[in-house]
Protein backbone atom coordinates (compact mmCIF):
# COMPACT_ATOMS: atom_id res chain seq x y z
CA UNK A 1 0.00 0.00 0.00
CA UNK A 2 1.19 3.51 -0.81
CA UNK A 3 0.23 6.35 1.54
CA UNK A 4 1.37 9.69 0.20
CA UNK A 5 1.50 12.54 2.70
CA UNK A 6 1.63 16.06 1.31
CA UNK A 7 4.59 15.24 -0.90
CA UNK A 8 6.22 18.03 -2.84
CA UNK A 9 9.16 18.32 -5.19
CA UNK A 10 10.68 21.60 -6.22
CA UNK A 11 13.70 21.32 -8.52
CA UNK A 12 16.65 23.70 -8.54
CA UNK A 13 15.49 26.75 -10.41
CA UNK A 14 12.11 26.68 -8.69
CA UNK A 15 10.16 24.36 -10.98
CA UNK A 16 7.41 22.71 -8.93
CA UNK A 17 7.02 19.19 -10.31
CA UNK A 18 4.83 17.73 -7.55
CA UNK A 19 2.78 20.10 -5.47
CA UNK A 20 1.51 18.69 -2.19
CA UNK A 21 -0.05 15.38 -3.17
CA UNK A 22 -1.75 13.29 -0.47
CA UNK A 23 -3.31 10.04 -1.64
CA UNK A 24 -3.66 6.38 -0.73
CA UNK A 25 -3.08 3.77 -3.41
CA UNK A 26 -3.77 0.14 -2.58
CA UNK A 27 -5.08 -1.46 -5.75
CA UNK A 28 -3.60 -4.30 -7.74
CA UNK A 29 -2.76 -2.07 -10.73
CA UNK A 30 -2.88 1.67 -10.20
CA UNK A 31 -2.24 4.09 -13.02
CA UNK A 32 -1.03 7.64 -12.86
CA UNK A 33 -2.15 9.30 -16.02
CA UNK A 34 -1.29 12.73 -17.28
CA UNK A 35 0.30 14.53 -20.17
CA UNK A 36 4.05 15.12 -20.45
CA UNK A 37 5.36 17.33 -17.66
CA UNK A 38 2.48 16.57 -15.29
CA UNK A 39 4.94 15.33 -12.64
CA UNK A 40 4.16 11.60 -12.93
CA UNK A 41 7.78 10.49 -13.27
CA UNK A 42 8.90 12.73 -10.42
CA UNK A 43 6.22 11.29 -8.13
CA UNK A 44 7.11 7.74 -9.12
CA UNK A 45 10.84 8.33 -8.64
CA UNK A 46 10.23 9.74 -5.16
CA UNK A 47 8.03 6.79 -4.22
CA UNK A 48 10.60 4.28 -5.50
CA UNK A 49 13.36 5.98 -3.44
CA UNK A 50 15.35 7.29 -6.39
CA UNK A 51 14.68 10.91 -5.59
CA UNK A 52 14.30 12.77 -2.28
CA UNK A 53 11.11 14.81 -1.86
CA UNK A 54 11.54 18.51 -1.07
CA UNK A 55 8.94 18.11 1.67
CA UNK A 56 6.31 15.63 2.80
CA UNK A 57 6.77 11.90 2.61
CA UNK A 58 5.10 8.62 1.73
CA UNK A 59 4.82 5.18 3.25
CA UNK A 60 5.35 2.08 1.12
CA UNK A 61 3.86 -0.92 2.91
CA UNK A 62 4.42 1.03 6.13
CA UNK A 63 8.02 2.11 5.44
CA UNK A 64 8.91 5.78 5.13
CA UNK A 65 10.51 6.73 1.79
CA UNK A 66 12.73 9.37 3.39
CA UNK A 67 14.09 7.44 6.35
CA UNK A 68 13.60 3.77 5.49
CA UNK A 69 14.66 3.63 1.86
CA UNK A 70 16.76 0.49 2.36
CA UNK A 71 13.75 -1.44 3.67
CA UNK A 72 11.63 -0.25 0.75
CA UNK A 73 14.25 -1.24 -1.81
CA UNK A 74 13.93 -4.86 -0.69
CA UNK A 75 10.26 -4.98 -1.61
CA UNK A 76 10.00 -2.81 -4.70
CA UNK A 77 11.24 -2.94 -8.27
CA UNK A 78 11.31 0.07 -10.54
CA UNK A 79 11.61 0.19 -14.30
CA UNK A 80 12.50 3.68 -15.50
CA UNK A 81 10.94 5.49 -18.41
CA UNK A 82 12.62 4.55 -21.69
CA UNK A 83 15.07 2.22 -19.97
CA UNK A 84 17.18 0.34 -22.50
CA UNK A 85 19.02 -2.92 -22.02
CA UNK A 86 22.78 -3.26 -22.33
CA UNK A 87 22.80 -4.19 -25.99
CA UNK A 88 25.76 -6.50 -25.84
CA UNK A 89 24.25 -8.67 -23.09
CA UNK A 90 21.40 -11.13 -23.49
CA UNK A 91 18.02 -10.83 -21.72
CA UNK A 92 18.93 -13.81 -19.54
CA UNK A 93 22.23 -12.25 -18.47
CA UNK A 94 20.58 -8.96 -17.58
CA UNK A 95 17.72 -10.47 -15.62
CA UNK A 96 20.10 -12.84 -13.85
CA UNK A 97 22.50 -10.00 -13.00
CA UNK A 98 19.66 -7.87 -11.61
CA UNK A 99 18.41 -10.74 -9.43
CA UNK A 100 21.88 -11.39 -8.06
CA UNK A 101 22.04 -7.69 -7.24
CA UNK A 102 18.84 -8.26 -5.31
CA UNK A 103 20.64 -10.96 -3.33
CA UNK A 104 18.97 -13.98 -4.90
CA UNK A 105 21.07 -17.13 -4.58
CA UNK A 106 22.74 -18.22 -7.83
CA UNK A 107 20.36 -21.20 -8.44
CA UNK A 108 17.30 -19.12 -7.50
CA UNK A 109 18.34 -16.29 -9.81
CA UNK A 110 18.88 -18.72 -12.67
CA UNK A 111 15.50 -20.37 -12.14
CA UNK A 112 13.58 -17.11 -11.66
CA UNK A 113 15.22 -15.50 -14.71
CA UNK A 114 14.36 -18.46 -16.92
CA UNK A 115 10.79 -18.65 -15.62
CA UNK A 116 10.17 -14.93 -16.07
CA UNK A 117 11.60 -14.88 -19.59
CA UNK A 118 9.41 -17.83 -20.53
CA UNK A 119 6.36 -16.17 -18.97
CA UNK A 120 6.77 -12.96 -20.97
CA UNK A 121 7.47 -14.85 -24.18
CA UNK A 122 11.19 -14.23 -24.51
CA UNK A 123 12.35 -17.81 -24.08
CA UNK A 124 13.50 -18.21 -27.68
CA UNK A 125 15.60 -15.05 -27.61
CA UNK A 126 16.83 -15.28 -24.03
CA UNK A 127 20.44 -15.83 -25.07
CA UNK A 128 20.58 -13.40 -27.98
CA UNK A 129 22.27 -9.99 -27.60
CA UNK A 130 19.61 -7.49 -26.54
CA UNK A 131 20.43 -5.09 -29.34
CA UNK A 132 19.00 -7.62 -31.79
CA UNK A 133 15.59 -7.54 -30.08
CA UNK A 134 12.59 -5.46 -31.17
CA UNK A 135 11.43 -2.51 -29.08
CA UNK A 136 8.58 -4.58 -27.64
CA UNK A 137 10.90 -7.41 -26.69
CA UNK A 138 13.24 -4.99 -24.94
CA UNK A 139 10.38 -3.61 -22.87
CA UNK A 140 9.20 -7.12 -22.09
CA UNK A 141 12.70 -7.92 -20.88
CA UNK A 142 12.32 -5.20 -18.26
CA UNK A 143 8.91 -6.50 -17.28
CA UNK A 144 10.52 -9.95 -16.95
CA UNK A 145 13.08 -8.41 -14.67
CA UNK A 146 10.35 -7.00 -12.42
CA UNK A 147 8.42 -10.25 -12.63
CA UNK A 148 11.45 -12.34 -11.64
CA UNK A 149 12.25 -10.04 -8.72
CA UNK A 150 8.96 -11.07 -7.10
CA UNK A 151 8.69 -7.53 -5.72
CA UNK A 152 5.67 -6.64 -3.61
CA UNK A 153 5.30 -3.39 -5.50
CA UNK A 154 6.48 -2.66 -9.03
CA UNK A 155 6.87 0.85 -10.44
CA UNK A 156 6.65 1.08 -14.21
CA UNK A 157 7.27 4.45 -15.75
CA UNK A 158 5.62 4.72 -19.16
CA UNK A 159 6.27 1.08 -20.01
CA UNK A 160 4.94 1.23 -23.56
CA UNK A 161 6.01 4.66 -24.77
CA UNK A 162 7.13 4.49 -28.38
CA UNK A 163 5.90 0.96 -29.02
CA UNK A 164 3.68 -0.11 -31.89
CA UNK A 165 0.13 -1.28 -31.00
CA UNK A 166 0.96 -4.99 -31.16
CA UNK A 167 4.06 -4.64 -28.96
CA UNK A 168 1.99 -2.57 -26.56
CA UNK A 169 -0.55 -5.37 -26.23
CA UNK A 170 2.28 -7.85 -25.56
CA UNK A 171 3.72 -5.64 -22.82
CA UNK A 172 0.26 -5.17 -21.26
CA UNK A 173 -0.14 -8.90 -21.16
CA UNK A 174 3.24 -9.24 -19.44
CA UNK A 175 2.36 -6.52 -16.92
CA UNK A 176 -0.82 -8.40 -15.97
CA UNK A 177 1.36 -11.36 -15.01
CA UNK A 178 3.28 -9.41 -12.34
CA UNK A 179 2.64 -10.94 -8.95
CA UNK A 180 2.86 -7.80 -6.79
CA UNK A 181 0.92 -4.57 -6.95
CA UNK A 182 1.82 -2.22 -9.76
CA UNK A 183 1.96 1.55 -10.00
CA UNK A 184 2.45 2.65 -13.57
CA UNK A 185 2.49 5.96 -15.31
CA UNK A 186 1.27 6.56 -18.80
CA UNK A 187 -0.14 9.18 -21.07
CA UNK A 188 -1.98 6.57 -23.14
CA UNK A 189 -5.62 6.59 -22.09
CA UNK A 190 -6.28 3.15 -23.54
CA UNK A 191 -3.41 1.76 -21.49
CA UNK A 192 -4.99 3.03 -18.31
CA UNK A 193 -8.36 1.66 -19.39
CA UNK A 194 -6.96 -1.74 -20.25
CA UNK A 195 -4.80 -2.29 -17.18
CA UNK A 196 -6.00 -0.28 -14.24
CA UNK A 197 -8.05 -1.06 -11.20
CA UNK A 198 -7.78 2.57 -10.21
CA UNK A 199 -6.69 5.65 -12.09
CA UNK A 200 -5.24 8.89 -10.74
CA UNK A 201 -5.27 11.86 -13.06
CA UNK A 202 -2.27 14.09 -12.57
CA UNK A 203 -1.83 17.57 -13.98
CA UNK A 204 0.69 20.30 -13.14
CA UNK A 205 1.87 18.51 -10.02
CA UNK A 206 -1.59 17.84 -8.62
CA UNK A 207 -3.91 14.84 -8.60
CA UNK A 208 -7.02 16.28 -10.18
CA UNK A 209 -9.25 13.20 -10.09
CA UNK A 210 -9.29 9.56 -9.10
CA UNK A 211 -11.41 6.44 -9.32
CA UNK A 212 -11.91 3.25 -11.28
CA UNK A 213 -12.15 3.73 -15.02
CA UNK A 214 -15.84 2.83 -14.76
CA UNK A 215 -16.48 5.39 -12.02
CA UNK A 216 -14.66 8.11 -13.89
CA UNK A 217 -16.42 7.40 -17.17
CA UNK A 218 -19.85 7.07 -15.53
CA UNK A 219 -19.94 10.85 -15.24
CA UNK A 220 -20.33 10.92 -19.00
CA UNK A 221 -22.98 8.23 -19.10
CA UNK A 222 -25.24 8.64 -22.13
CA UNK A 223 -23.06 11.34 -23.65
CA UNK A 224 -20.67 11.59 -26.57
CA UNK A 225 -17.88 13.95 -27.58
CA UNK A 226 -18.54 16.04 -30.66
CA UNK A 227 -15.57 17.52 -32.51
CA UNK A 228 -15.63 20.16 -35.20
CA UNK A 229 -13.28 22.54 -36.94
CA UNK A 230 -15.99 25.21 -36.72
CA UNK A 231 -17.25 26.71 -33.50
CA UNK A 232 -20.35 25.00 -32.06
CA UNK A 233 -22.74 26.34 -29.48
CA UNK A 234 -21.48 25.62 -25.95
CA UNK A 235 -18.23 24.22 -27.33
CA UNK A 236 -14.70 25.00 -26.22
CA UNK A 237 -11.47 24.98 -28.09
CA UNK A 238 -8.95 22.18 -27.53
CA UNK A 239 -5.82 22.42 -29.63
CA UNK A 240 -7.04 23.15 -33.16
CA UNK A 241 -10.61 21.87 -32.78
CA UNK A 242 -13.86 22.72 -31.04
CA UNK A 243 -15.27 20.17 -28.62
CA UNK A 244 -18.62 19.81 -26.93
CA UNK A 245 -20.42 17.10 -25.02
CA UNK A 246 -23.96 16.16 -25.91
CA UNK A 247 -26.48 13.39 -25.46
CA UNK A 248 -25.94 10.16 -27.35
CA UNK A 249 -29.37 10.49 -28.96
CA UNK A 250 -28.23 13.64 -30.83
CA UNK A 251 -25.31 11.83 -32.43
CA UNK A 252 -26.98 11.19 -35.75
CA UNK A 253 -27.72 14.89 -36.24
CA UNK A 254 -24.08 15.76 -35.70
CA UNK A 255 -22.91 13.03 -38.08
CA UNK A 256 -25.30 14.32 -40.74
CA UNK A 257 -23.78 17.80 -40.28
CA UNK A 258 -20.32 16.35 -40.91
CA UNK A 259 -19.14 16.60 -37.33
CA UNK A 260 -17.03 13.91 -35.68
CA UNK A 261 -18.73 12.01 -32.87
CA UNK A 262 -16.57 10.01 -30.50
CA UNK A 263 -17.14 7.59 -27.66
CA UNK A 264 -16.14 8.98 -24.26
CA UNK A 265 -12.68 7.95 -23.05
CA UNK A 266 -10.42 9.01 -20.20
CA UNK A 267 -9.19 11.80 -22.49
CA UNK A 268 -12.45 13.55 -21.76
CA UNK A 269 -11.70 13.82 -18.07
CA UNK A 270 -8.75 16.01 -18.96
CA UNK A 271 -10.60 17.94 -21.65
CA UNK A 272 -13.41 18.75 -19.23
CA UNK A 273 -10.89 20.29 -16.88
CA UNK A 274 -9.42 22.44 -19.57
CA UNK A 275 -6.23 20.42 -19.89
CA UNK A 276 -5.08 20.73 -23.47
CA UNK A 277 -3.87 17.23 -24.29
CA UNK A 278 -2.27 18.30 -27.53
CA UNK A 279 -0.05 20.93 -26.01
Amino acid sequence: MIEIKDIRKIYHGGKVAVDGISETMDNRITTLIGRNGAGKTTLLRMLSTQLYPSSGTALINGYDIVHEANKIRKIVASIPQEASPLGILSPYEQVNMYLLGRRFSIPDARRAANEALETVGLWDVRNKPSDTLSGGMKRKMFVALALASNAELVFLDEPTTGLDPLSRLEVWSAIKKLSGNVLLTTHYMEEAESLSDKVFLQDRGHIIDRGTVKQLLSRFSGRVRVESHEELSHSFRVGGIYVKYDDLENSENYIREGKTVKKITLDDLFIMRGVDLES
Binding site: Q50, L51, P80, R102
Partner: protein, 249 residues
Protein backbone atom coordinates in the same frame (compact mmCIF):
# COMPACT_ATOMS: atom_id res chain seq x y z
CA UNK B 1 29.15 -6.08 -0.08
CA UNK B 2 27.39 -8.27 -2.67
CA UNK B 3 30.26 -10.32 -4.13
CA UNK B 4 27.97 -12.51 -6.26
CA UNK B 5 26.62 -9.46 -8.04
CA UNK B 6 30.07 -7.94 -8.48
CA UNK B 7 31.47 -11.20 -9.87
CA UNK B 8 28.61 -11.80 -12.29
CA UNK B 9 28.56 -8.18 -13.43
CA UNK B 10 32.30 -8.46 -14.14
CA UNK B 11 31.80 -11.80 -15.85
CA UNK B 12 29.04 -10.54 -18.12
CA UNK B 13 30.19 -6.97 -18.66
CA UNK B 14 33.92 -7.66 -18.54
CA UNK B 15 34.79 -11.12 -19.83
CA UNK B 16 31.89 -11.81 -22.19
CA UNK B 17 32.20 -8.36 -23.72
CA UNK B 18 35.80 -9.16 -24.70
CA UNK B 19 34.51 -11.95 -26.90
CA UNK B 20 31.56 -9.98 -28.27
CA UNK B 21 33.27 -6.63 -28.81
CA UNK B 22 37.04 -7.06 -29.21
CA UNK B 23 37.52 -3.72 -30.96
CA UNK B 24 37.18 -1.94 -27.62
CA UNK B 25 40.27 -3.77 -26.34
CA UNK B 26 42.33 -2.68 -29.31
CA UNK B 27 41.17 0.90 -28.71
CA UNK B 28 42.21 0.74 -25.04
CA UNK B 29 45.62 -0.61 -25.99
CA UNK B 30 46.21 1.88 -28.79
CA UNK B 31 47.43 4.85 -26.73
CA UNK B 32 49.90 3.05 -24.42
CA UNK B 33 51.31 0.95 -27.28
CA UNK B 34 51.69 4.02 -29.49
CA UNK B 35 53.47 5.89 -26.72
CA UNK B 36 55.67 2.86 -26.10
CA UNK B 37 56.62 2.90 -29.77
CA UNK B 38 57.28 6.67 -29.72
CA UNK B 39 59.42 6.39 -26.59
CA UNK B 40 61.35 3.49 -28.13
CA UNK B 41 62.07 5.42 -31.32
CA UNK B 42 62.88 8.78 -29.70
CA UNK B 43 65.18 7.35 -27.04
CA UNK B 44 66.58 4.67 -29.33
CA UNK B 45 65.35 2.06 -26.89
CA UNK B 46 66.99 3.67 -23.86
CA UNK B 47 63.74 4.37 -21.97
CA UNK B 48 61.76 1.43 -23.27
CA UNK B 49 61.66 -0.27 -19.86
CA UNK B 50 60.15 2.87 -18.34
CA UNK B 51 57.57 2.86 -21.12
CA UNK B 52 56.69 -0.80 -20.57
CA UNK B 53 56.13 -0.34 -16.83
CA UNK B 54 54.41 3.01 -17.46
CA UNK B 55 52.37 1.53 -20.28
CA UNK B 56 50.87 -1.03 -17.91
CA UNK B 57 50.03 1.77 -15.44
CA UNK B 58 48.57 3.94 -18.21
CA UNK B 59 46.51 1.05 -19.53
CA UNK B 60 44.94 0.29 -16.15
CA UNK B 61 44.42 3.91 -15.15
CA UNK B 62 42.94 4.91 -18.49
CA UNK B 63 40.61 1.92 -18.54
CA UNK B 64 39.48 2.83 -15.02
CA UNK B 65 38.85 6.41 -16.14
CA UNK B 66 37.06 5.29 -19.27
CA UNK B 67 34.55 3.47 -17.08
CA UNK B 68 33.10 6.96 -16.42
CA UNK B 69 31.80 6.86 -19.98
CA UNK B 70 29.97 3.60 -19.40
CA UNK B 71 28.70 4.65 -15.99
CA UNK B 72 27.33 7.91 -17.41
CA UNK B 73 25.83 6.13 -20.40
CA UNK B 74 24.10 3.63 -18.11
CA UNK B 75 22.79 6.40 -15.88
CA UNK B 76 21.62 8.95 -18.43
CA UNK B 77 20.99 7.05 -21.63
CA UNK B 78 20.10 3.48 -20.71
CA UNK B 79 18.74 4.57 -17.32
CA UNK B 80 19.84 1.28 -15.82
CA UNK B 81 21.38 2.91 -12.77
CA UNK B 82 17.93 4.12 -11.65
CA UNK B 83 16.76 0.54 -11.64
CA UNK B 84 19.61 -0.45 -9.36
CA UNK B 85 19.11 2.56 -7.08
CA UNK B 86 15.58 1.31 -6.36
CA UNK B 87 16.89 -2.11 -5.31
CA UNK B 88 19.20 -3.62 -2.70
CA UNK B 89 22.28 -2.76 -4.78
CA UNK B 90 24.44 -0.21 -2.94
CA UNK B 91 26.50 2.46 -4.72
CA UNK B 92 29.66 0.63 -3.65
CA UNK B 93 28.41 -2.69 -5.10
CA UNK B 94 27.56 -0.91 -8.32
CA UNK B 95 30.85 0.96 -8.49
CA UNK B 96 32.90 -2.16 -7.69
CA UNK B 97 31.02 -4.19 -10.24
CA UNK B 98 31.92 -1.63 -12.90
CA UNK B 99 35.49 -1.59 -11.60
CA UNK B 100 35.86 -5.35 -11.75
CA UNK B 101 34.32 -5.47 -15.25
CA UNK B 102 36.89 -3.02 -16.45
CA UNK B 103 39.65 -4.94 -14.71
CA UNK B 104 38.46 -8.11 -16.41
CA UNK B 105 38.24 -6.20 -19.61
CA UNK B 106 41.85 -5.09 -19.33
CA UNK B 107 43.20 -8.66 -19.05
CA UNK B 108 44.34 -8.86 -22.70
CA UNK B 109 46.26 -5.59 -22.24
CA UNK B 110 47.80 -6.87 -19.02
CA UNK B 111 48.95 -9.97 -20.89
CA UNK B 112 50.56 -7.87 -23.65
CA UNK B 113 52.45 -5.69 -21.16
CA UNK B 114 53.27 -8.71 -19.00
CA UNK B 115 54.81 -10.38 -22.05
CA UNK B 116 56.80 -7.24 -22.95
CA UNK B 117 57.97 -6.88 -19.35
CA UNK B 118 59.14 -10.49 -19.28
CA UNK B 119 60.94 -10.03 -22.58
CA UNK B 120 62.90 -7.13 -21.05
CA UNK B 121 63.48 -9.11 -17.80
CA UNK B 122 61.48 -6.66 -15.71
CA UNK B 123 59.53 -9.25 -13.77
CA UNK B 124 60.59 -11.45 -10.89
CA UNK B 125 58.47 -12.73 -8.03
CA UNK B 126 58.53 -9.45 -6.08
CA UNK B 127 58.05 -7.08 -9.00
CA UNK B 128 55.16 -9.24 -10.26
CA UNK B 129 53.50 -9.05 -6.85
CA UNK B 130 54.09 -5.31 -6.70
CA UNK B 131 52.61 -4.80 -10.16
CA UNK B 132 49.53 -6.79 -9.10
CA UNK B 133 49.18 -4.50 -6.10
CA UNK B 134 49.48 -1.46 -8.37
CA UNK B 135 46.87 -2.81 -10.79
CA UNK B 136 44.46 -3.44 -7.94
CA UNK B 137 44.87 -0.06 -6.31
CA UNK B 138 44.89 1.84 -9.61
CA UNK B 139 41.66 0.26 -10.79
CA UNK B 140 40.02 1.07 -7.45
CA UNK B 141 41.16 4.69 -7.35
CA UNK B 142 40.53 5.52 -11.00
CA UNK B 143 37.12 3.84 -10.96
CA UNK B 144 36.18 5.89 -7.89
CA UNK B 145 37.24 9.03 -9.77
CA UNK B 146 35.19 7.86 -12.73
CA UNK B 147 32.15 7.29 -10.59
CA UNK B 148 32.47 10.77 -9.05
CA UNK B 149 32.74 12.36 -12.48
CA UNK B 150 29.97 10.29 -14.02
CA UNK B 151 27.57 11.29 -11.26
CA UNK B 152 28.19 14.98 -11.97
CA UNK B 153 27.82 14.91 -15.74
CA UNK B 154 24.40 16.00 -16.98
CA UNK B 155 24.71 15.16 -20.67
CA UNK B 156 26.13 11.94 -22.06
CA UNK B 157 27.86 13.75 -24.88
CA UNK B 158 30.10 15.63 -22.43
CA UNK B 159 31.54 12.55 -20.81
CA UNK B 160 33.50 11.35 -23.86
CA UNK B 161 35.43 14.62 -24.00
CA UNK B 162 35.96 14.71 -20.25
CA UNK B 163 37.33 11.16 -20.09
CA UNK B 164 39.68 11.80 -23.03
CA UNK B 165 41.07 14.93 -21.39
CA UNK B 166 41.33 13.26 -17.99
CA UNK B 167 42.94 10.22 -19.49
CA UNK B 168 45.74 12.34 -20.94
CA UNK B 169 46.15 14.56 -17.89
CA UNK B 170 46.06 11.67 -15.44
CA UNK B 171 47.96 8.99 -17.30
CA UNK B 172 50.31 10.52 -19.87
CA UNK B 173 51.51 13.72 -18.19
CA UNK B 174 52.55 11.89 -14.97
CA UNK B 175 55.98 10.20 -15.16
CA UNK B 176 54.62 7.02 -16.68
CA UNK B 177 56.71 7.05 -19.86
CA UNK B 178 59.78 8.88 -18.56
CA UNK B 179 61.90 8.83 -15.35
CA UNK B 180 60.29 10.65 -12.46
CA UNK B 181 63.67 12.20 -11.65
CA UNK B 182 63.11 14.52 -14.64
CA UNK B 183 60.51 16.27 -12.47
CA UNK B 184 62.63 16.62 -9.36
CA UNK B 185 63.68 20.15 -8.56
CA UNK B 186 60.56 21.62 -10.17
CA UNK B 187 58.38 23.47 -7.60
CA UNK B 188 60.83 22.57 -4.82
CA UNK B 189 62.47 19.18 -4.48
CA UNK B 190 59.38 17.08 -5.17
CA UNK B 191 56.70 19.78 -5.51
CA UNK B 192 55.68 18.94 -9.06
CA UNK B 193 55.61 15.22 -8.30
CA UNK B 194 53.30 15.81 -5.34
CA UNK B 195 51.08 18.05 -7.46
CA UNK B 196 50.86 15.41 -10.16
CA UNK B 197 50.11 12.85 -7.44
CA UNK B 198 46.49 13.97 -7.58
CA UNK B 199 46.48 11.41 -10.36
CA UNK B 200 46.90 7.91 -8.92
CA UNK B 201 49.12 7.11 -11.92
CA UNK B 202 51.89 9.36 -10.54
CA UNK B 203 52.60 7.60 -7.23
CA UNK B 204 52.09 4.28 -9.01
CA UNK B 205 54.66 5.16 -11.68
CA UNK B 206 57.19 6.70 -9.29
CA UNK B 207 57.02 3.75 -6.90
CA UNK B 208 57.21 1.27 -9.78
CA UNK B 209 60.31 2.93 -11.21
CA UNK B 210 61.97 2.61 -7.79
CA UNK B 211 60.69 -0.91 -7.09
CA UNK B 212 61.60 -2.25 -10.53
CA UNK B 213 65.12 -0.80 -10.21
CA UNK B 214 64.72 1.60 -13.10
CA UNK B 215 65.70 4.43 -10.76
CA UNK B 216 68.07 4.29 -7.76
CA UNK B 217 66.59 2.69 -4.64
CA UNK B 218 64.97 5.31 -2.38
CA UNK B 219 63.07 3.77 0.50
CA UNK B 220 61.61 7.04 1.80
CA UNK B 221 60.35 8.02 -1.65
CA UNK B 222 58.89 4.55 -2.23
CA UNK B 223 57.00 4.52 1.08
CA UNK B 224 55.77 8.08 0.57
CA UNK B 225 54.32 7.12 -2.81
CA UNK B 226 52.67 3.96 -1.43
CA UNK B 227 51.09 5.95 1.39
CA UNK B 228 49.87 8.61 -1.07
CA UNK B 229 48.33 5.90 -3.25
CA UNK B 230 46.51 4.21 -0.39
CA UNK B 231 45.31 7.45 1.18
CA UNK B 232 44.07 8.94 -2.07
CA UNK B 233 42.31 5.70 -2.99
CA UNK B 234 40.52 5.83 0.37
CA UNK B 235 39.66 9.50 -0.16
CA UNK B 236 38.37 9.02 -3.71
CA UNK B 237 36.38 5.99 -2.58
CA UNK B 238 34.84 7.89 0.33
CA UNK B 239 33.88 10.78 -1.94
CA UNK B 240 32.34 8.30 -4.39
CA UNK B 241 30.43 6.61 -1.59
CA UNK B 242 29.17 9.60 0.34
CA UNK B 243 29.12 12.57 -1.99
CA UNK B 244 27.93 11.18 -5.31
CA UNK B 245 24.27 11.36 -6.21
CA UNK B 246 23.09 7.76 -5.91
CA UNK B 247 19.69 8.85 -4.67
CA UNK B 248 19.14 12.23 -6.23
CA UNK B 249 18.29 15.31 -4.20
Amino acid sequence: MNLKFIFYFAWYYGIKVIVRGPSYIIASLATPLTLLFVVYVLTKGELVQFAIVGGMITLIASIGLQSAGDATFMRLQLRIQEMYVASEVSPIDYMLSMTMSFLAFSIPGIIVYGFLGSYYHLYNFYTTLYMMFLIFILILSTSAISFIISSMVKHVRNIWGITSILSIIMTVIPPTFYPYTYLQGKLGTNGLIYLLSLSPATPAAVSAQIFFGLEPWNYAELMTMIVIMIVETAVYFSIAKYLTRWREK
